[in-house]
């Protein structure tokens, strides 16, 4: 396959074409707003194309590590054990996007079960550790989002 230019570059090139060729030729306000929205979505897609597999794999490791930590603590619940069993049975090392996303979601269920347990037990240290994992996830989402506001809402 051709790997250069990257998918990120290709998408950003489409975005430039949209902004510099198509948008100036359009007068209708609803269409111009749709173009602004498309521009934003293309930027989101470019960032995801460049990083999403690595980010999901990194977060998966963090979420599973946290779930194991909680499962080994006084906060352990059957729900965490069940989610970890499902993760082990369903996870994949494949780097195809659907497979990575599936494994990521299974890890997310483990993490969620661990959050439930930690919050119910009122364990502050594990609560803070959970927030660290959530913060990593949010940093990735924020990078994907970039500059964003409700276009056309005025």
């Amino acid at each position: 396959m051709l790997s250069r230019p990257t998918t990120e570059q290709l998408i950003l090139d489409c975005r430039n074409e949209l902004l510099n060729t198509i948008d100036p030729a359009v007068a209708a306000e609803p269409v111009k707003i749709a173009i602004q929205m498309l521009e934003n979505v293309l930027r989101n897609c470019a960032t995801r194309a460049a990083h999403e597999i690595a980010w999901m794999r990194d977060e998966t490791e963090q979420m599973i590590a946290f779930a194991h930590r909680v499962a080994d603590s006084a906060c352990a619940t059957p729900a965490i054990a069940g989610a970890l069993d499902a993760y082990r049975a369903g996870r994949s090392d494949s780097l195809h996007l659907d497979d990575v996303a599936h494994t990521y979601s299974l890890a997310g269920h483990c993490f969620s079960a661990a959050i439930d347990a930690v919050m119910a037990a009122g364990d502050d240290d594990l609560h803070l550790a959970a927030r660290e994992v959530l913060t990593t996830r949010l940093e990735h989402e924020t990078q994907i989002m970039g500059e964003w506001s409700f276009v056309g809402r005025a």
């Binding site: 979505v41 993490f111 959530l134 409700f150």
Partner: protein, 342 residues
């Protein structure tokens, strides 16, 4: 509404059916921008008695193209009840095509407000202007919504049994949104657990607009406010609107609350009669997380439908970022335990 070229004729025929002896001619019809969830259009109408009127049409998008699914039947019933009560400044709902037979989709016809949205007005002010009387005017308009006697809406909107059960149900919507989505959403489980553990003092349940933000407040040419877009309204905790306004305006400013948080809340307490034990900076933070769920869950449903191949369209893809805005606010509103800095 799905085919604008047909609309002048269809709208005129629809109005003729609902206007007694008068006959209508639609002299102009154009799609409106600014609405996210529904199709919007503006129509100029000349009646055969020589009078003219301007209407706004608010209809459902085609199946599979809506960023959120809400009921026009319920919205029409609510608009009719609120109009009859005459307690809130809002444009009159005049006609309803409840089947879509006449206007191509279920569609409510409202009076047009001669003015601009408050968002548009605020956009013309510089940040150092203080925005004149708009912050307090906004509070007064919100308080007017929350002073409505909800007993008159009992046949239209569901009335919760009690505050505690209502709030727990609202919190549970975070868990439900997680359970039904196409992938795990740990933010939702975290915020649900945090909100359950930190419930504030209760307030009487009132009418909640649920999308109270400056694009949904029209300012007439003489400066009066008219509240529009009631599709998500329900009876709940009035602080939901305070919190929602705060998070919405944090993402799409200016945030008039943040100009003077204590003054904003003091005015609200004065206008509603609510006490400082229930309306304060802490409860504002709490409801800034909790109130997001109504709109958030609708956007997430659209995203989930898209993931399953059941929905499409730029509104769904574009508003995915609103979920991230929600996550940012969840993390800010759900404070860490003492000693934590995250």
């Amino acid at each position: 509404m799905l085919d604008p070229s047909e609309m002048p004729g269809r709208l005129a025929a629809f109005l003729d059916r609902h206007s007694g002896a008068r006959r209508a001619t639609v002299t102009s019809y154009e799609a409106m921008v600014g609405g996210y969830s529904r199709l919007m259009a503006r129509a100029e109408v000349m009646w055969d008695d020589g009078t003219t009127e301007t209407f706004v049409l608010r209809g459902d998008p085609p199946p599979g193209k809506a960023m959120m699914e809400t009921s026009r039947d319920l919205e029409w019933a609510l608009l009719s009840a609120l109009g009859a009560a005459d307690a809130i400044p809002m444009p009159a709902a005049r006609f309803y095509d409840s089947t879509g037979e006449h206007l191509g989709t279920k569609c409510i016809v409202l009076d047009y407000v001669n003015g601009r949205s408050l968002q548009s007005v605020l956009n013309e002010h510089s940040a150092d202007s203080g925005y004149g009387s708009h912050p307090l005017d906004l509070v007064d308009t919100m308080a007017a919504v929350h002073r409505v006697d909800v007993s008159g809406l009992a046949g239209v909107l569901a009335v919760p049994d009690d505050w505690d059960g209502y709030i727990s149900g609202l919190i549970d919507r975070f868990r439900q949104a997680d359970a039904t989505h196409a992938e795990a959403m740990p933010f939702l489980r975290y915020v649900a657990a945090w909100l359950e553990a930190n419930k504030p003092a209760p307030l009487p349940l009132r009418l909640v607009h649920s999308d109270f933000q400056p694009a949904n407040v029209m300012v007439t040419t003489d400066g009066r406010h008219q509240v529009i877009d009631w599709e998500l309204s329900h009876i709940g905790d009035p602080r939901e609107d305070l919190g929602y306004y705060n998070i919405y305006s944090s993402a799409s400013g200016p945030n008039l609350f943040m100009l003077d948080p204590e003054g904003f809340l003091a005015r609200y307490r004065e206008r509603t009669g609510f006490g400082e034990d229930a309306v304060n900076l802490q409860t504002m933070a709490y409801f800034s997380s909790l109130a997001a769920i109504t709109v958030y869950s609708q956007i997430l449903l659209g995203a989930g439908a898209m993931a399953r191949g059941q929905n499409a369209g730029i509104m769904t893809t574009y508003t995915l970022n609103a979920l991230t805005v929600g996550h940012i606010n969840f993390m800010a509103g759900c404070t860490p335990p003492a000693g934590g800095g995250h």
